[in-house]
Amino acid sequence: MAVRDRISIILPTLLAVVLASCGGEGSVTEITQTRRVDSLPMPPRPDATSAQRFGYERGMNASAPHGAAHSAEEMELPFTWATPEGWHPAPDRPMRVVTFTAGPAQEAECYVTILGAGGGGTVANINRWREQMGQPPLEEAAVSALPVLEVLGKPSPWVEVRGAFTSASGEAMDDALLLGLVCPADAFSVFVKMTGPATVVEAQRDAFLAFCTSLTWSPPADS
C-alpha cells in the first residue's frame, strides 16, 4: 500500500476520533431529567448542621432504618477517652462506638466496639484478628503470655499482628499492621483495634496505647 493511501486512511480516522472526543461542554447545563416519586428517600431536615449531615453529631440519625445499630450516644457509654493528637473522628459506623482515622493521609483506622459479656472470648477474638492478617491462631498459653495494659481497671491483653490484612468485607491490604486490645470489663468486653499500612500504624503505636489507657469510667450521674 502506498504511503499516500495510508495517509488517506489514517487522517480521516484520526479526525473522526478527535471530533468524537470533543465534549462540547458548556459552562451552564440545563437539567433535563426529572422523576416523579411518591415519597422522598430522605425527608428534609432544615435545621441539620453539617456535623449532623455527615454523621459526626449523633442523635439526629433517625433516618437509619429499622433495627439498625444504635449510635454510641443512644448506648449511654459508661466510659470516656482522650483522643490522641492527629487523630480525626470519622463518621458513625454500625456496631462501633467511635471510629478515628490517623496517619499522614488518614490511612490508618482505629475503632472501639463493645460486645456483651465476654464477646466470644479473648482467645477467639485475638485469633480472629490474626486470621484477618493471614496469621495462624495462637494457643491459649500464648495468648496468656501477651503483653497486658491496665484499661478500665482490668488487665487487658494487647496484640500486634503483621501481615496481609483482609477486612471482614474482604478488602485486602499487603504489608499491614494490626494493633488490638481486648478489655474484659464486668458486664461487657471493650475491643480497640487499629489497622492500616504497617509503617503508618507503627508510627501510631504509642498513640494507640495511650488511647487505650485513656479509657476511663464516667463518673456516676448523681456525683
Binding site: 493511501d5 426529572t34 422522598l40 453539617s50 449531615r53 455527615f54 454523621g55 437509619a64 432504618p65 474482604g170
Partner: protein
C-alpha cells in the same frame, strides 16, 4: 477521491484488519486480567473495555498507548459487516459462513445495546417495605426536590456523568426553569470523607461550615467509594449558599429558596421499575451449628396497576417481569439478633439485549450446521461417484 474511498473501504473490510483486531482484543483481555491484581474490576472494565484509547503501563513504568476494547469492537463490527457480510460471496456454498458472520454481528450488537441501555443495581427492602426503585452500584446522581408538600414529588436529576469527571478543580453550573437557584459544582471527589477542621488544622482544600473533603484513594471494590463535592447554590436574588454534599450523608442538604423547601442529595443513581415490589417475609436458615446458609428466600408481592401477585425469590429462582430480573443477592443485618427485623437485598438487572447471545448462538449454530452439512453431503456424493466410476 473515489480511489481514496475505495481504498478505505477495502481496508475496513480486509481480512488483515480482522486479524489485527482479534489480536488486539486478545492483548486487551490479557492486560486487563493482569491489571486486576492491582485495580478493581470496575476500574479495569472502564479502562480497558469501555474506553476508546488507554495508556497501559508496561512493568508499571513504560507507558504504552493502546486502543480500547470499545474502539476495537466497534471496528470489528464494521469490519465484519463489510468484509464478512457485504463483501462475502453469496453463493450457496457460502451461506453457512455468511450465517456465522451474521450471528457474530448479532452478538456484537447485543453487547452494544447492553453497554448503552442496560441498568444494573440493587434493591434493599426490610420486611414490610415496598419500592419501585433500585439503585446503581457505582454511578452517582444529584437529586433536587421541592419538599414543601406532601407528595408526590418531582425530582430534578443531574446524572453523575455530568459532574463526576470534573475532578477537584473543575466547575460546572446546572439550572432549570423550575428551580429558583442555579447549582454550581465546584470540584468532585470519587472517594472522599468530610472531616471537621479544627482551629490549628491546615486543611488541604476548601472549608465549608467547618468541614473539608479529604480525598481518599479509590477503593478496589468500586461500590464502596463515597463520592463528594463542593456546591454553591446561587438564587436569583440573595446570598449564595455553599455546601458540601457527600454520598454517605445520613441527612440530605435542606435549603429554603423561592419560598419553598428544597432537598439536595448526592446519592447512588436510582432507576424506576414499571412495577413495585413489597417484601412480606424474608426466611434464612443455616446448616445446624454453622454459619453456612442452607436456604434464604424472600416472599414478595409484585404490584402493578393495583394488581398484586405473590412471588418467592430465592437463590436460583429470580423474578423476571417486564424486562427486569430480580435475583436474591444478600440479606442482613449480619449480626441480627432473634426477632430483629431483617432486610433482603435483590440484584436488579434490566438488559434489553439479554436474549441476544441466545439468538446469536442459534444463528451461528445454524450457519455451522449448514456449512458442515453441505461439505458432508458433497463428500458423500464424491465418494459415491468415485465408487461408482
Amino acid at each position: 477521491m473515489k480511489d481514496y474511498l475505495r481504498t478505505f473501504y477495502r481496508f475496513l473490510s480486509s481480512y488483515g484488519l480482522s486479524c489485527i483486531l482479534f489480536l488486539l482484543l486478545f492483548l486487551l483481555t490479557f492486560l486487563g486480567t493482569l491489571e486486576q491484581m492491582h485495580a478493581g474490576l470496575f476500574d479495569v472494565q472502564k479502562k480497558y473495555f469501555e474506553s476508546v484509547f488507554l495508556v497501559h503501563e508496561l512493568f508499571g513504568v513504560i507507558p504504552v498507548p493502546l486502543p480500547g476494547a470499545y474502539l476495537v469492537m466497534s471496528l470489528l463490527a464494521v469490519n465484519l459487516i463489510l468484509g464478512g457480510v457485504v463483501r462475502a460471496r453469496k453463493s450457496p456454498a457460502h451461506w453457512g459462513i455468511l450465517l456465522g458472520h451474521i450471528g457474530i454481528v448479532v452478538l456484537l450488537l447485543g453487547a452494544a445495546i447492553q453497554y448503552r441501555y442496560s441498568q444494573t443495581g440493587n434493591l434493599t427492602l426490610y420486611e414490610g417495605e415496598r419500592s419501585n426503585e433500585f439503585e446503581s452500584y457505582y454511578e452517582w446522581e444529584l437529586a433536587i426536590a421541592d419538599a414543601s408538600g406532601n407528595g408526590p414529588f418531582t425530582e430534578y436529576i443531574i446524572p453523575g456523568e455530568q459532574f463526576m469527571h470534573l475532578g477537584t478543580a473543575g466547575t460546572r453550573t446546572f439550572r432549570s426553569p423550575a428551580l429558583p437557584f442555579e447549582l454550581r459544582v465546584e470540584g468532585a471527589f470519587r472517594n472522599c470523607q468530610p472531616q471537621p477542621v479544627g482551629p490549628g488544622d491546615t486543611p488541604p482544600g476548601r472549608v465549608v461550615d467547618g468541614f473539608t473533603l479529604i480525598s481518599l484513594a479509590p477503593d478496589k471494590q468500586a461500590e464502596r467509594n463515597a463520592a463528594g463535592l463542593y456546591a454553591t447554590l446561587q438564587p436569583a436574588s440573595g446570598e449564595a449558599i455553599e455546601a458540601i454534599l457527600w454520598g454517605l450523608s445520613p441527612i440530605p442538604l435542606t435549603v429554603e429558596a423561592g419560598g419553598k423547601t428544597w432537598v439536595i442529595d448526592l446519592r447512588k443513581q436510582r432507576f424506576q421499575m414499571p412495577f413495585a415490589v413489597a417484601l412480606d417475609q424474608f426466611i434464612h436458615e443455616m446448616h445446624p451449628g454453622t454459619q453456612m446458609p442452607r436456604k434464604f428466600e424472600s416472599h414478595v408481592r409484585k404490584i402493578e396497576n393495583g394488581v398484586e401477585q405473590s412471588v418467592t425469590i430465592s437463590m436460583n429462582a429470580p423474578l423476571r417481569h417486564r424486562g427486569y430480573t430480580l435475583y436474591q443477592a444478600s440479606w442482613g443485618p449480619p449480626n441480627a439478633q432473634p426477632g430483629e427485623p431483617l432486610f433482603s437485598v435483590f440484584a436488579v438487572v434490566s438488559n434489553p439485549a439479554d436474549q441476544f447471545p441466545l439468538y446469536a448462538c442459534v444463528v451461528i449454530s445454524l450457519g455451522l450446521c449448514v456449512h458442515y452439512a453441505r461439505n458432508l453431503l458433497l463428500y458423500i456424493r464424491e465418494q459415491s461417484e468415485s465408487a461408482a466410476s
